[in-house]
Amino acid sequence: MDFRFSDDQLTLTESVRDYLSGTHGPEVLRRLDEQGNRDPAIWQGLVEMGLTGLLVPEEHGGLGLGLVEAALIAAECGRACLAEPLVDTAFVAVPWLVHQGDTDGLQAIAQGTRTVPLPHVLNPWVADGEGQPLQSVDPLRNLAMFSASGPADEHLLNLGALMSAAQLLGLADAMLHQATEYAKIRTQFGQPVGAFQGLKHQLASCAVAIEFAKPVVWRAAQALQDGVTSAATHVSHAKLAAGDAAIQTAETAIQVHGAMGYTYEVDLHFWMKRSWALCGAWGDRAFHVRRIDEAVLGGSLPIGPEHTFA
C-alpha cells in the first residue's frame, strides 16, 4: 500500500490551494455574509480553474479525474470555507450521474452553466437547491427544503459523505492554523498564551486527530473509486474520523481564542459552523457509527488479521 500522491495530484492540489488562498480569504466570507452569499465571479473563477469539470469524462468536456483528486480538492474547498456549490455539484452529483449512465447534462456542468443539488432521504435539504428556504446554522449555506424526498441510493450517500469528510479535513486544518497563529500573538501574563501547556497541548491533540483522519479519508476515496465491497465502511470511517477531528478542533480553537472566539468579528465561526453543518450532512455521527457497527458485528465486513488493512 502506498499513500503517497503523484506529482500531478500534488501540483493540482497546490494550485487550487494557492488560488483560493489568494482570492477567497475571510474578507470574502464577510462580504458574502452581508451581500447574499453568492457571487458569480467566484463561481466563474472555479469554472476557469476547470474544477466544475474535474470528474466529468473527457469526452464530455471535463478533465476525467477520479475521486482521490476530487477529495484532495474538496479538502481545499473546506480550508477556504468555500460556500459555492462546487463540491455538491462537481464531486457528488457528477460521479453519481456518471455511475447512473446519465451523461446528458455533464457538459453543461463542466462549463459551469448547470448546478445539480441532489437530495437524499438522509438529506431532506440541500444547499443551493430550489424549494422552501431554510435558515442554516452556517450563514453562508443557502439551504432549501426539497418538496419530494430524494432517493435512498447508497452510492450517492457514500459520495456525499466522502466529500463532506474531505471538506472537514480542510476545515479542521484551517481552524487549527487560525488558533495556532492566535496563540502565538495573543499575550497574557507577559507571554504568548501559546507558551502555556494548557493551550499548547490542546492544539497538539487536534493536530493528532487531524493527521490520523487524513489517510482514512484518502483510503475511502480510493475504495469508492475502485468500487470495493467495503467502500461504505471506509466512507463511514472517514466521515467519523474527519468529523470528530473537525469538531474537536472547532471547539478547541474557540477556547484558544478566549472570548474573541465567541464573537462574530473573529473569522473562526464561519469554519466552525460549516464543520457543524457538514458533520450532520450525508449521514450524521449516529448513522455512520451504526453502519460500522452493523458491518463489523453483522459479518458483512470480513475481520481477522488478513483483512485489517483491506
Binding site: Q135, P139, L143, F189, G190, G258, A259, T263, G280, F287
Partner: protein
C-alpha cells in the same frame, strides 16, 4: 448533616410558587419562558421592579436593605421555584449578586444607603467593567486609567465583554490609579453612572447572532470621589472579594435552568428516537449524574457559612458546571442530528438546544477560562508551584 426541607420550608416553597406563578400568568405573561438574556429588555426591567416591590428581588440580603434575610434553604427553594415557573433570567444579576454584596461587604454606610435600596428595588441595573482587550485571563494587567481631579475621578480607557452594559445604569470599573504600577497593585474600584458623555457603548455580535456584551469606552468619564469602594489602591482586593460572590447562591438558580435544558434534551431524544441509541443513552445518564453532582457540590459549598473563604471545594465549582453545560450542548447536537442545524424562517433565531450548543462555548471562557480554573485549583487549592510567566 441535615438533608431535606422542613415543614416551614415547604410552606415557604408554596408561597414562592404561588406568587411566581400568579405573576407569570398575569401581568408578566408575555415574558414567561424567555431564555435569551437580551430579549424584551424594557419588560425585564419592569419585572426587576416588580420583584423589588414584592421583596423577592434579593431575598438573601438583610431586611434593612430590601431583602428578607432568607436562610440558605429558602434561597435554594426560591431559585428552584423561579426556574420551575419559567421566569426569565435576571437582567440585574450583576447588581443583585455582585455589586450589592460587594457594597455590603466593603462599602461605606453612605454608599449602602445610596445604592442598596435602588438595586433591591430593581431601579438600578449594574454591569461589570473588569476585562479589557489586553486583560482577560490576566485580569490584573488592566490599563484603564483613573485620576483624581477637583474631587472627581476622571477615567480613560476601554473595557470589553461588559454584559448588558447597553441596558445598565451603572458600571463598576477596576482602574489603574497609580501611575506606573503593575499587576494587582495600584488599582482602584469605582462605581460610575453610565449615562454621561464620557462613556460610549458598542455592542459585540456573538457567534449565535445575539449581542449580549459590549465594548465600553471611557473618555474623560467622571464620577464623584466618594464613588470609590474601599480605598485607593485596594481595587484588586475588592475585585477578588466580588468574584468570590460569583460562586454564591446564584449558582443554585443556574442549576435549575440547567435542569430545564437537560429535560428538554431528554424530551427531544425521546421524540426523535435518539434515546434508543445506546451511546446517547449513556451520555444522557452521564449528564444526569453530572447535574446531581453539581447540585450536591453547590449545596455543600454554600453550607459553609464563611462564604468569603475560598476553600478547595469552591475553587472547583466553575470548571465543573461550565464543562458540564458545554458537554450538554454537544450532546444536544448529537441528539438532534441534522435537524439541529436548521431553523425555519428567515431570522437568525435558534431554538433552545442549538442555541445551547453555541452559547455553551462561552461558558468555559467567561468568568475565568477552564485553563485559568485549573491553574487556580492546582496553585491555590493544591499549593503547586505557579506556572512560569513572562515579564509583565
Amino acid at each position: 448533616m441535615k438533608l431535606g426541607f422542613s415543614a416551614a420550608d415547604e410552606e415557604f416553597r408554596a408561597e414562592c410558587a404561588d406568587w411566581l406563578n400568579a405573576e407569570m400568568a398575569g401581568e408578566f405573561k408575555d415574558i414567561k419562558g424567555i431564555t435569551k438574556l437580551t430579549a424584551s429588555p424594557e419588560r425585564r426591567k419592569e419585572w426587576e421592579q416588580r420583584l423589588g416591590e414584592a421583596k423577592w428581588g434579593c431575598i438573601g440580603w438583610p431586611e434593612q436593605w430590601g431583602g428578607r434575610n432568607a436562610t440558605l434553604a429558602q434561597q435554594v427553594i426560591f431559585a428552584e421555584e423561579y426556574a420551575r415557573a419559567g421566569v426569565p433570567g435576571r437582567v440585574n444579576h450583576i447588581g443583585i449578586e455582585l455589586a450589592g454584596p460587594t457594597i455590603l461587604a466593603f462599602g461605606s454606610e453612605e454608599q449602602k444607603r445610596r445604592f442598596l435600596p435602588d438595586i433591591a428595588a430593581g431601579k438600578t441595573i449594574f454591569c461589570q467593567g473588569f476585562s479589557e482587550p489586553g486583560a482577560g485571563s490576566d485580569l490584573a494587567s488592566v490599563r484603564t486609567k483613573g485620576r483624581l481631579e477637583n474631587g472627581e475621578w476622571v477615567v480613560n480607557g476601554q473595557k470589553i465583554w461588559t454584559s448588558l452594559a447597553h441596558i445598565s445604569d451603572w458600571i463598576f470599573v477596576v482602574t489603574r490609579t497609580e501611575e506606573g504600577s503593575k499587576g494587582p497593585k495600584g488599582l482602584t474600584f469605582l462605581m460610575m453612572e453610565i449615562d454621561q458623555p464620557g462613556i460610549e457603548i458598542r455592542g459585540i455580535k456573538q457567534i449565535n447572532g445575539d449581542a449580549e456584551f459590549n465594548e465600553t469606552f471611557f473618555t474623560d468619564a467622571r464620577c464623584p470621589e466618594d464613588s470609590m469602594i474601599g480605598a485607593v489602591g485596594y481595587g484588586w482586593k475588592i475585585a477578588m472579594g466580588l468574584l468570590a460572590f460569583e460562586r454564591g447562591v446564584s449558582t443554585l438558580g443556574q442549576q435549575m435552568a440547567f435542569r430545564n435544558e437537560l429535560d428538554e434534551l431528554i424530551a427531544a431524544a425521546r421524540a426523535n428516537g435518539a434515546a434508543n441509541n445506546p451511546l446517547i443513552r449513556q451520555r444522557i445518564a452521564k449528564a444526569e449524574i453530572g447535574l446531581r453532582l453539581m447540585r450536591y457540590g453547590a449545596l455543600r459549598m454554600l453550607s459553609n457559612t464563611d462564604h468569603s473563604k475560598i476553600d478547595g471545594a469552591a475553587l472547583t465549582y466553575k470548571i465543573q458546571w461550565a464543562s458540564w453545560r458545554r458537554s450538554l450542548g454537544e450532546l444536544a447536537m448529537d441528539v438532534l442530528g441534522q435537524a439541529g442545524e436548521v431553523a425555519e424562517g428567515s431570522e437568525y433565531e435558534w431554538d433552545t438546544l442549538p442555541n445551547l450548543f453555541l452559547y455553551s462555548r462561552a461558558d468555559t471562557i467567561y468568568g475565568g477560562t477552564n485553563q485559568i480554573q485549573r491553574n487556580l485549583i492546582a496553585e491555590r487549592g493544591l499549593g503547586m508551584p505557579r506556572e512560569p510567566r513572562g515579564d509583565v
